[in-house]
């Protein structure tokens, strides 16, 4: 089975702006998506817009990532391309004073794989916002 990879209209300029190694690695990742589908994605994401969209993140080069959405008829849509560094050190700026926050700096490898169904339990949005507010700023 092969997949058709398209790009969201507002993400297209970001794709066109890719240069050098990031551009090469992006092309390689797209090629893998065409042949492997969700198996080529890295981690499952909640779309957090109320939809049941099958959305994943994919790290294709250093801190470069893309968000992909799986649509009908074997279409995979690149919804976003950009740099996202989620490796902040939790042990700075006082965050370590709250013991549980040490977990907040955990690695993405702990996320569910792209092909998995996400946990459908409702998320306490207020607490999710609090976690993000408590996280130390990027270094």
């Amino acid at each position: 089975m092969t997949f058709t990879v398209t790009v969201a209209a507002r993400a297209k300029p970001r794709v066109k702006a890719l240069r050098g190694k990031a551009k090469d690695k992006f092309a390689e990742a797209v090629n893998r998506l065409k042949h492997e589908g969700c198996a080529a994605g890295d981690y499952r994401m909640r779309a957090s817009d109320g939809s049941e969209a099958h959305m994943c993140g994919l790290r294709f080069y250093a801190d470069w990532r893309m968000h992909i959405v799986f649509a009908e008829h074997n279409e995979i849509i690149v919804a976003w391309v950009g740099q996202h560094n989620d490796e902040e050190n939790p042990h700075v700026d006082g965050a370590a004073d709250v013991p549980q926050l040490a977990d907040i700096g955990r690695r993405r490898e702990d996320q569910p794989p792209c092909c998995d169904e996400p946990d459908k339990a409702p998320i306490d949005q207020e607490l999710a916002d609090l976690i993000n507010a408590l996280r130390p700023p990027r270094q």
């Binding site: 709250v98 549980q100 907040i104 607490l127």
Partner: protein, 150 residues
Amino acid sequence: MTRREQRALAAGFITLEDTLHRTEDALQNGSVKQALSELQETQHTVAAMRPATIDVAQAAVALGVSEPTVRAWTRRGLMVLASEQPTMLTFSSVVDLRHRLQRLRETAGDTKRWQSLLAAAADQRELAEPGAREGLADALAGNTEPLILT
């Protein structure tokens, strides 16, 4: 504290003592409804007695963190600064954060819920990157274009 404030505080404590006794009586008599009513009155009394502001040291004790953490969190907007010299925070913002931290700590005790919450928070951070939500909206609406790599 002025004499007037001292009198108001004493009156508040007397009211609290009364309502706590009535709550105890109601519970001993098996009247949960009456006990709840008394507790609500207690909450009103406490609300009227509580100070408008709190200093950093008191906030640190209330939140169970260090003073530098309180200052850092205030800079990040987690609590509301009432005055800078001396540094005072609004009491309500500290109490609100205390409640949310308690809920967060409780959630952390449930591994499955905690992992799910961390994952959702991480996803939301990624979706907060410039253009991410717009791209998702386009993707979900079918507003897509062929991907041509040159």
